[in-house]
């Protein structure tokens, strides 16, 4: 099953500390959402509010159109996959997965059949008689997922579910989570601080910072056209070029460029490293000297000192064909469409 989630005007305080500030968010049924942000940004608090573990100081949570703000976790159509898995160590995997069904009063045969189905869904068929301590971290994560999905929730909440796994396993599990979500169609809300993970799985990323939603949208839009300077910096490496409004567009140390810009005396141009190129484009950075360059497989990552502003360091991702020598001078351009402009923050 699946259901939409609406968060309306959520504010939450821990003592004097405001953990969430005016959160409004609409999540469509069957959507895969990631809440992305640095630690302490309020993303886990927001997830706990959706799961019913925390009652918000202000605002409402609607799941499937019904107000569930004060409904306890046991009676919500949500289940949670916890960061540390929280499996029951004294039960077999089958009993772990069947726990929710047992609480719902299903008979032993039905719940064991369902548990075996769910274990098969997460790739652990035939493992029902094992106990959690016999499993690896990745397998425990799968059991936790199967247990949360066994009760057929409308919304599945995942609290940094892949945080404890090594990088390779994490990438494999991301693909698997996404494909499971596609198959069952349940709404997934996934908390992470890893922007690559967020981009890999989400239909929509919600970027959070200091208790606020900074930006929300599809991964490509969030990455290429971030709504705030924070989002721009958090989503990956970024060149920040100071600029000012002038007569012929925006004036930068490398020349001017014609771009729409917010009303502010000093501005920041954000330019992704891969948007810098050595072929002609709308924004000319001019000749620049290579400080160092390294081969990364899919690209060559190089630092440049532009001749126009030798103290400024630009990071660029160039095609992997050739690694430039140190001290080599190359002429750089960037496509104005790939530039985002924000007011300078104090």
């Amino acid at each position: 099953m699946t259901a939409p989630v609406q968060l309306r005007g959520l504010n939450h305080f821990f003592g004097n500390f405001q953990a969430l500030k005016d959160i409004n968010l609409e999540i469509a049924a069957g959507e895969y959402i990631t809440l992305l942000g640095p630690s302490g940004c309020g993303k886990t608090t927001l997830l706990s509010i959706m799961g019913g573990f925390i009652e918000p100081s202000e605002g409402a949570v609607l799941i499937g159109g019904k107000d569930t703000t004060r409904v306890p976790p046991a009676r919500r159509p949500t289940t949670t996959v916890f960061q540390d898995y929280a499996l029951f160590p004294h039960m077999t995997l089958r009993d772990n997965v069947a726990f929710g069904l047992r609480m719902a009063g299903a008979n032993r045969r039905d719940r064991h059949r369902r548990a075996d189905e769910m274990l098969a869904l997460v790739g652990l068929e035939g493992g029902g008689a094992k106990r959690p301590h016999e499993l690896s971290g990745g397998q425990r994560q799968r059991v936790a997922l199967a247990r949360a999905l066994a009760v057929d929730p409308d919304v599945l909440l995942l609290d940094e579910p892949l945080g404890a796994l090594d990088l390779k396993l994490r990438r494999a599990m991301q693909d698997e989570l996404k494909s499971i979500q596609r198959r069952i169609g349940t709404t997934f809300v996934h908390v992470t601080h890893d922007q690559e993970e967020a981009m890999a799985i989400a239909d929509r990323i919600v970027v959070m910072n200091a208790g606020r939603i900074e930006d929300a949208g599809p991964p490509a839009r969030i990455y290429q056209k971030p709504a705030s300077l924070f989002t721009a910096g958090f989503m990956g490496e970024m060149n920040r070029i100071p600029a000012r409004r002038g007569d012929s567009g925006l004036e930068t140390p490398f020349g001017s460029v014609n771009l729409a810009s917010p009303e502010a005396s000093s501005l920041i141009l954000c330019l992704r490293p891969e948007a810098i190129r050595t072929t002609q484009a709308g924004f000319s950075i001019g000749p620049a000297r290579v400080r160092d360059a390294a081969f990364f497989g899919t690209h060559v990552r190089a630092h440049f000192s532009p001749d126009a502003e030798p103290d400024f360091v630009l990071v660029a991702h160039l095609p992997p064909g050739r690694v430039p020598d140190q001290g080599e001078v190359m002429t750089l351009w960037a496509d104005p469409d790939s530039i985002s402009v924000f007011p300078q923050e104090n």
Binding site: G51, F53, P73, T78, T80, F82, A86, L87, P89, V151
Partner: protein, 255 residues
């Protein structure tokens, strides 16, 4: 140096176990006094013990009091630990301290205090009052053991159980208690052992039905006899059985 450390080991174990070994040995004495030279072996004193209905009655009383007071101590200790570990209560630090404090009070004081209170309240002395006394001394121990093992791991599992639809009783019975089973069993067996050979409180708070240590004490007043050695050996045997059961049931499982 090496031989010295071996000698120390032998001396230490001799110091601990020689009295027990002598007690057990002279319980097989065929003569009338539990002193050297050893004559026997003979089982006549064991037959005497088993034929003594007062002694066997006291042994049964001891077992009943030990098991019952152990169960009550563990149940109350668990509830206190669960409440204090899981809920923010006003003055919880003070409550913890007050719960553990009786451990530092001597059994004599606890026994005398209870005696005065019970007399004032008009409650007659019986095995019940002995049981109450043993709960008083074992509850702090059970609380301390169980409270110390309650950690974030159970708490997260409890959250998960609630999330999956369990009510509070189901959370406690299906998740918390099984996860804490080693601590709960250890607390229970320790309580049973302490109650089993506790003398002062049992002596002060009992009248007609007595526990085994009290019965042994009254036998002692009529002088030494290998019969006492035999009953002592039986008590020792039961205690050892308890410790072995604890070892097998609780600590082995943990590995």
């Amino acid at each position: 140096m090496r031989s010295l450390s071996w000698a120390y080991l032998v001396a230490a174990f001799g110091f601990i176990y020689l009295p027990v070994a002598a007690l057990v040995l002279f319980s097989f004495q065929s003569g009338g006094l539990p002193v050297p030279p050893f004559e026997g072996p003979s089982l006549r004193w064991y037959a005497d013990v088993i034929g003594d209905s007062d002694l066997m009655g006291a042994l049964l009383n001891s077992l009943v009091v030990a098991l019952f007071s152990g169960a009550v101590s563990v149940a109350l200790g668990f509830c206190a630990a669960y409440g204090l570990a899981r809920h923010h209560l006003p003055g919880s630090t003070l409550m913890r301290a007050v719960l553990i404090a009786p451990m530092t009070v001597s059994y004599l004081i606890v026994g005398l205090g209870l005696l005065i209170v019970l007399q004032r309240a008009g409650a007659g002395l019986s095995l019940w009052t002995v049981g109450i006394g043993h709960v008083v001394i074992n509850l702090p121990l059970c609380f301390a053991i169980i409270y110390a093992t309650m950690g974030a791991q159970q708490q997260n599992a409890e959250r998960a159980a609630r999330d999956l639809g369990a009510n509070e009783a189901q959370v406690v019975l299906l998740v918390t208690v099984p996860m804490l089973a080693p601590a709960i069993l250890a607390a229970f067996f320790l309580s049973v052992t302490f109650s089993w050979d506790e003398f002062i409180i049992a002596f002060l708070l009992s009248r007609f039905d007595v526990t085994l240590p009290v019965e042994i004490w009254s036998l002692l007043r009529s002088g030494l006899s290998p019969k006492l050695n035999a009953i002592g050996s039986l008590v020792f045997l039961i205690s050892v059985a308890g410790v072995v059961a604890l070892e097998l049931l609780v600590f082995r499982k943990r590995q």
